[in-house]
Symmetry: C2
Subunit: 505 residues, 2 copies
């Protein structure tokens, strides 16, 4: 094996400069780590959820403590800017705490107890076991080594095996060390967490018999490859792949008729599609605007003030340039662009337009182009708008820029969009996914591989559990959470009715 | 197309006699029915759940009204006996009512509303759309045309397209007519329900672009074929296949040491594995008993009084005879059997034994044999028992016959079994799956294709929904269920906290 195969390579997107990254993990070492995770899985699953919340608190505190160092390291590998990255460290810490609170609250265990005719039946969601996590390039903290997938899986009681991201290998290694130390200090079993590096190690992780689920955030190609690989295992496991498509935004006629609303929408759209250099899975990539509304000009005007930046990797930068060329070849026309930096993985923020007729199934115009580009397409009337929306792929999110709650198009647009998206936003933009109880970050295939799942919000834990019923099992042999005395004071449904207090002794 | 291809053939298992069944459904007609279901899907989804509960009540009433006729027709095609079938009609009616109540109660919608920093985020589970249902041969009512899958999908707001079962085609057609008439009289849209007949029609159903999920109950081969076919669709859809494996039962040393407990366990085991001629997916197919406990003799004694019966189809009967031969070829030895009827699809209730060493991964002994046969295997000690259990495939259910709550083996056996089964039963048998809030009828792969799902109990609705979040959507454009005034009085979680009353106006 030569040097480039033995270690990851870290690149500086601003210059392209290379630094040696962490050593790749051998397939044997992956097997050892998976076995260690499986060995400790039951101990982790049987911990009271409040104990795992303490582990997550320890991780959050460690992240916060190292914020400056982490943000600087991330900036050197992603060029996303220290301010944004500092904020994202805080966000990852807040997520870890949130999932810990959700774990301790206990609704995710969905405890149900029925007693009738001599039968005692008790149901609970049990952690699946070791989870393999493949983080995203574009959120090195929030969807990274210790992002949503890792924190929610740990909260749900599953050991986590993370594949470090090749776009930020040194940061991955640093985060891995932070998490490992925090968990050890908090008293978590050794098998609770492990990090591996390298492409082959990632494949070994998906194939490891001990792995019970895979969580992935990234491209269609990457996600579908994992879905197919996991389906070919002797024992298939679910892959929760959050991949993304083109997220549409609609400007209604009433919104377009009001100059101020139009200007606000145009600048909001630009801010959203260029945020993080357009490297968001929730980027609004398409604005459908009424014909003659002047929306394209308004958006072009707003684009003028945009600062150019760098994309995360050389591959993303070249895919972006190819994407722009392919979009033009598919019928798009340049409206405006901002000059790119002269070196590094630079990208020119770009606005395109295309005739409605060009948006046909199979067209490149309907596929995601990762980076700071969006398309404005004009529609004639509600009928054509409806037809255009029908042709789009389902998406993680969809947005409407409206004239407010009396806008006559909202009552049909919102339900229609809700049938094709995981989240519908009115008078806001889909970038920015808050971590709360009601969040849904998912969507119909092919936006995700598992439309019933979310990778953000309280329901993220649900992905990593399986229900089990216990029939007439004596108290001493029941899991603690199902015992009559409810020692963890978890919410329960008894004979079909929710207990109104926490129950318990 | 010749006559046998144009119509299904109904067989009498007691004699093998043939009767012409309903005409097969053309692929064009399947397409028309799927389009009709999709046309009405939103109307059905937007109904208050209590309205759909009324539809299910109408179905239940119609089933009860026709009990005698339905039971007689089912008996002619299944030989399961009129008494059992009469009871099963009542069970299907009770299920329909139960799922209607669950729908109206509304927890399955999992409504969450968060408000913070000017953001209003509301999340709800939305019905997926048309669901294709493939019922089971062995429960013509409870898992048939209007069994668990159909009733729970309707309750969740999904139109249902059922493939009639070739083992009871005339009953399927009759049930289809009953359901159609009941739904029409109750005011349900025309697209709420349809029935198709024939193998090609079934494939067309799985391929129909309008179909959003498939529910199946039956064999490994059938289930896996549907899983693979649905994965190859341009838009893959989930297949909830409840297939089943060998459900193990363990007799503990303490139980075996008590003569009365042993005798009770032996007769309970026989009653369970021969129930419905052993044609239950929850049949306990394997009893692990302490060496020298005399369990095999006790079970053999209990088998003596068993009445032989007929299997559902010629195919099942010949697979049963082949299965017995294959089990013996794999190392099993006959302990006892009851003479089979001389004609029809007859089966001899049979008890086999095998040495523990023969239970190795890949052995036929570890695979399901549908019909009235079970295997008794003796173990030396806890260590060997643990090793034997590790070699088994995961299952829908697992049972322990114990000496009661002080039995020292329960505290390790129950958790171990819960890691490999969807339900663990102590001092009872897995056959008999009650329809309640806490039920879990599912299990790890390959017992089912979706270990997170259940096909019985309140959570059965969850299979047919997908969450959607609405961000800053004005009240008039929200789904009724998410409006501030909570017109359907559904349970909700506000800012992470459950409302303690039903909320609403």
């Amino acid at each position: 094996m030569n040097a480039t195969e033995a270690a990851e390579v870290s690149r500086d997107p601003r210059t392209g400069a290379r630094t040696e990254g962490p050593a790749v993990t051998s397939v044997d070492e992956v097997a050892r780590l998976a076995a260690r995770a499986a060995r400790d899985a039951e101990r982790i699953a049987d911990c009271p959820p409040a104990v795992r919340a303490d582990w997550l608190e320890a991780i959050a505190t460690a992240l916060e403590h190292d914020t400056e160092e982490l943000a600087a390291l991330a900036d050197a590998e992603t060029a996303l800017g220290v301010d944004r990255l500092r904020g994202e460290v805080g966000r990852a810490a807040a997520q870890a705490r949130f999932y810990g609170r959700v774990a301790a609250e206990g609704s995710w265990l969905d405890i149900r107890i029925d007693r009738f005719d001599g039968v005692d039946l008790r149901r609970i969601n049990r952690p699946l076991g070791p989870v393999a996590v493949f983080g995203a390039s574009n959120f090195p903290f929030a969807f990274g080594v210790v992002g949503h997938d890792t924190s929610s899986a740990l909260a749900a009681g599953c050991p986590v095996l993370v594949k470090g991201h090749p776009a930020h290998p040194r940061l991955s290694a640093r985060l891995g060390a932070t998490v490992t130390a925090a968990l050890r200090a908090a008293g978590a079993p050794e098998g609770t967490f492990a990090l591996v590096h390298g492409f082959e190690a990632g494949l070994a992780l998906v194939d490891a018999p001990e792995v019970t689920a895979v969580a992935f955030t990234g491209s269609q190609a990457g996600g579908m490859a994992l879905v197919e690989r996991a389906a070919r295992r002797p024992v298939p496991v679910p892959v929760f792949a959050e991949m993304g498509t083109v997220n549409p935004a609609v400007l209604t006629p009433a919104a377009a008729a009001d100059d101020e609303v139009l200007r606000t929408a145009a600048s909001g759209f630009v801010a959203s599609f260029t945020l993080g250099q357009g490297q968001f899975c929730t980027k609004p990539g398409l604005l459908l605007a009424p014909r003659g509304s002047g929306a394209a000009d308004a958006v072009a005007g707003a684009l003028t003030g945009t600062e150019p930046g760098w994309l995360l990797t050389e591959g993303i930068a070249s895919a972006y340039r190819k994407g722009l060329a392919d979009l033009e070849a598919a019928g798009a026309r340049l409206v405006a662009s901002v000059a790119a930096h002269p070196e590094g993985f630079a990208a020119a923020p770009t606005l395109l337009t295309a005739p409605a007729e060009a948006l046909v199934p199979g067209s490149r115009l309907l596929e995601e182009c990762f980076g700071p580009v969006a398309l404005v397409v004009e529609y004639d009337d509600a009928e054509q708008l409806r037809a255009l929306l029908a042709r789009l792929q389902p998406s993680l999110a969809a947005a409407v820029a409206s004239a407010g709650e009396t806008d006559p198009d909202l009552p049909w647009l919102v339900p229609l969009l809700s049938r094709k998206a995981g989240r519908v936003v009115v008078d806001g933009w889909p970038t920015g996914v808050v971590t709360t109880w009601a969040q849904q970050h998912g969507g119909p295939w092919p936006a995700t591989s598992r439309p019933e799942a979310t990778s953000v919000g309280a329901a993220a834990l649900d992905r990593f559990t399986r229900p089990v019923a216990f029939q007439n099992v004596p108290q001493p042999a029941l899991p603690d959470a199902l015992r009559d005395d409810n020692p963890w004071r978890l919410p329960r449904r008894i004979d079909g009715v929710r207990e109104t207090d926490g129950g318990g002794a």
